[in-house]
Amino acid sequence: MLAMKEVYLDNAAATFVDPRVKAVMDRFWLKDYGNPGSFHSMGLRALRAMNSARSAVANVLNCSSDEVVFTGCGTESVNLAIKGVFAANKSKGRHIITTRVEHPAVLEACRYLEKYESAKVTYLPVNKFGQVSASNLENAIRPDTILISVMYANNEIGTINHISELSKVAKKHNILFHTDACQAGLLDIDVKKLGVDLFSMNGSKVYAPKGVGLLFIRKSVSIVPLIHGGGQEFGLRSGTENVAFIVGFSKALQLMQSERKKESARVSRLRDKLVNGILNLIPKVILNGHPKERLAGNVNVSFLDIEGEALLLYLNEKGICASSGSACTSKRLAPSHVITALGLPYEVAHGSIRFTLGRRTTSADVDRVLKVLPGAVEALRRLSPVHIKEEDLYG
């Protein structure tokens, strides 16, 4: 069989490593592999590389270098933000506010604190597009609230929150505000404009390697580390620094942000072409998330009467990589908590498919999907005994 070119539309899960990123990492394997903490010129070269990577990141985020802590991944950044702030501030109060649609990194960190640290957590509802309202947030604030954590952009449905509005509410009540920005590489990530105190990101979504993350921590924030040891990263994340990945991550963020406007426009054109194509060609489809305030590369649709995992297998057979909010593809065997939080029934979540476009996605890729998808959906619908009525969905 002729090898088929894969159409990769799962960029929200992981991106390729941009060759320009890989190029700046290469020298750390065989040449400049010293420990940045060592007292010799090999170590010094590593330290200098790391320092300039850090200041370049600080430049991108519009903060100072000593406010950037590198970590091992997005999950770690989020855990450090939530658990580290909680531990340092729990004498003031034990209440945290977050949302129902966060990534498991946030939700499970909160559940851990509820279970083992008697934290009280409010999980805010979202509107039908997946957004949190400033008034809901303000109403949830209590005298013992110490932290608010609201994601910048949702990883499943791509919906963007109005972070600067929400952070104003936090500031007004003197509460720390964290945002999980792991999906926000193509958005404005100026932390001053966003008004956030803590901000998490990772490399695997911005064309850097997997397994590197960062946490911006505003200087005034009280926080304690989760990982104790040799005192690296301002004492907030001990362990020998992953110099190569940090340098790569820094390069990736600079590239992403300098190409942001152009790339965002290009990708959102492709996204709209895909959404419109799907809605025009296939009946009984729901676009999940916000029609406009969504990530440039995110398409999330539910095909009524069929199950997402089955459709993924069809697409995979045709060389198309996507993902689904179906229970069958989740480790927990439960359908997407994000799509159900939008007020849509479970059966709609089971039929959800996410296509996330990226730097290498072309118009021809979108055409391929639009060619394959209608037939696959029809084949599965022919097999299905379920016939959902669209008008019944919004009761």
Binding site: E307, A310, L313, A327, L333, V386
Partner: protein
């Protein structure tokens, strides 16, 4: 750990080329079934519906529809083959089909997918019960334990 995406060639074959299915809406409407059974719920992500024709206490024809993942679809397809091959299975034997019988014919299913095949034999039993009821053989009807919710969805 079992790989979630590991599907045998047989599973894929039944998924991409499902056996004993209706080709058109008209065919469904015109189909004269002797028994029909449906189990599962869309909220849980699995629904199976089975139509059977019975002659001389054997299942001579079986059609089906499934809402569910690839293994749910493949296992219903395989089930429809098992009950109709060799001139049709005797009803008493068909009532005895266990999930494992379907899974072993499919080769293997990822462990976490096993529950998908649990519905197939229940849909079959429901269809046979329906046939018993319609033919006034209530005494032969079998009782199933109430369905364990496989997904924990509150309904």
């Amino acid at each position: 750990m079992a790989e979630p995406w590991f599907y045998t060639e047989t599973v894929k074959d039944h998924f991409f080329n499902p056996r004993n299915i209706f080709k058109t809406e008209e065919e469904i409407k015109g189909y004269k079934a002797d028994g029909v059974g449906e189990v599962g719920s869309p909220a849980c992500g699995d629904v199976m519906k089975l139509w059977i024709k019975v002659k001389d206490d054997r299942i001579v024809d079986c059609k089906w529809q499934t809402f569910g993942c690839a293994s749910a679809i493949a296992s219903t397809s395989m089930l429809s083959v098992i009950v109709t091959e060799h001139n049709g299975m005797l009803l008493d034997k068909a009532l005895d089909i266990k999930p494992q019988d379907i899974v072993s014919r499919l080769g293997e299913l990822p462990l976490r997918k096993f529950h998908c095949s649990v519905l197939g034999h229940r849909a079959l039993r429901a269809a046979i019960n329906d046939y018993f009821k319609k033919t006034k053989q209530e005494k032969r009807m079998v009782k199933d334990e109430p369905m364990q919710a496989t997904c924990g969805v509150k309904q």
